[in-house]
Symmetry: C2
């Protein structure tokens, strides 16, 4: 029993598992971007050799599909109990937050198109709320396409913003402002100077504004229960 034979720190070594692999993949993507998620970096994070991952996962594509589904799993599912408008507002906010936590998911939506169970459950619940609100099948399809286009697109724009969070705005804008001074882009300059660069401005605040516009428009699609009408048929 020489010292060499002791497999140092082989004790309390948490066994690998699909869950641990996927969870770790999300953590890496969140912290260092989706490009930093490689089979090798993932193995390193789990204190394991790269090829060990393939016992729990067929290939990297399967990891990508799985972590997208995990993101959908984090989203609050809307309920048919509450009012449809407040439920859709809650859902929209939850989707946006999930995509803020995991910005890489947005880019993945485009390339991968194999929805997982959490994704399907989520879509089903949302459709249920719209149908229950009184929308026809066709109007539900229209409404859902409109809502999700807006939410995804907003998240996409948010992710594309140069500054993330509480950095000073001038840090980013200064190099741009210089180019603008050339005289082109007068309207960009105007909106930057008078709006975007104002003290309290936060692009995220635009989200509720646009969402309200959409929800109010959708409300007009719901057939009104005239009150003196017949509840039957």
């Amino acid at each position: 029993m020489t010292a060499e034979e002791i497999p140092e720190a082989a004790l309390d070594r948490v066994p690998l598992s699909r869950e641990r692999v996927l969870q770790s993949a999300v953590t890496i993507a969140d912290g260092s971007g989706i490009a930093a998620l490689t089979m090798r970096s993932l193995a390193r994070a789990l204190d394991v050799k790269p090829m060990s991952l393939y016992y729990y996962v067929a290939n990297k594509g399967e990891i990508l599909d799985a972590i997208i589904d995990m993101v959908f799993g984090e989203i609050d599912m809307p309920s048919t109990d509450g009012h449809w408008q407040s439920e859709m507002r809650r859902r929209a906010s939850s989707v946006r937050q999930a995509l803020q936590r995991h910005p890489w998911a947005i880019g993945l939506l485009e390339s991968r198109s194999a929805p997982g169970p959490a994704t399907l459950r989520h879509h089903d619940a949302t459709l249920g709320v719209l149908r229950n609100a009184g929308l026809s099948v066709a109007l539900t399809a229209h409404a859902y396409a409109l809502l999700d286009s807006y939410i995804y697109g907003f998240a996409l724009q948010e992710a594309a913003l140069p500054f993330n969070g509480a950095d000073t705005a001038s840090e980013v804008t200064e190099p741009i402002v210089e180019l603008f001074s050339a005289g082109d882009y007068p309207h960009l300059v105007e909106i930057a100077a008078e709006h975007v660069l104002q003290p309290g401005y936060d692009f995220g605040d635009e989200f509720d504004i646009g969402l309200n516009v959409i929800l109010e428009a959708l409300a007009r699609w719901i057939p009104k229960d005239t009150g003196r009408g017949s509840p039957a048929a």
Copy 2:
């Protein structure tokens, strides 16, 4: 002068140029996806060795930034001459078409955030139309965020669709339908059976529907010229 010394087909060899490099990059990305765009594939397409590209381009990132700007360059710029609603409709359609031709651009929007001149020109022109329509600076910002979120989000969803174009829908849906029969996802099944899988259905048709909803809502933001009012102050 042996035969070996003749650099076969050195005649009529088009010289390399930044334009040719970028144009070829777009062609590859369009035809084989953004993942197939590598320095080596690009060099092969141009009949040149990989390292020759670096004479015209600092690195691959610069290529990505440049081809995004080329996509924006393809978009029809709205004019302050026409009615703002029809101009915004024309622009929206043009953006969507450009993103359909170059689906890879959507994913690139998220990761790269160095807008090129064509991109800035385009944004400036669009802002100009909204301001000219009578919207305040703040309302213009709200309107633009809403419009672009919708357009980008719609393009994102379109790009994520499994079937591209005229393929048979059943080819894609059959494997899914099987899972659905399990009994979960009743609303997904409903909307699939009664709407999406109907003969003439095309997701792309949803675009104008949602766009109209937004444009009509925005119209209500424009201060009405009361007619008997005062044009001054």
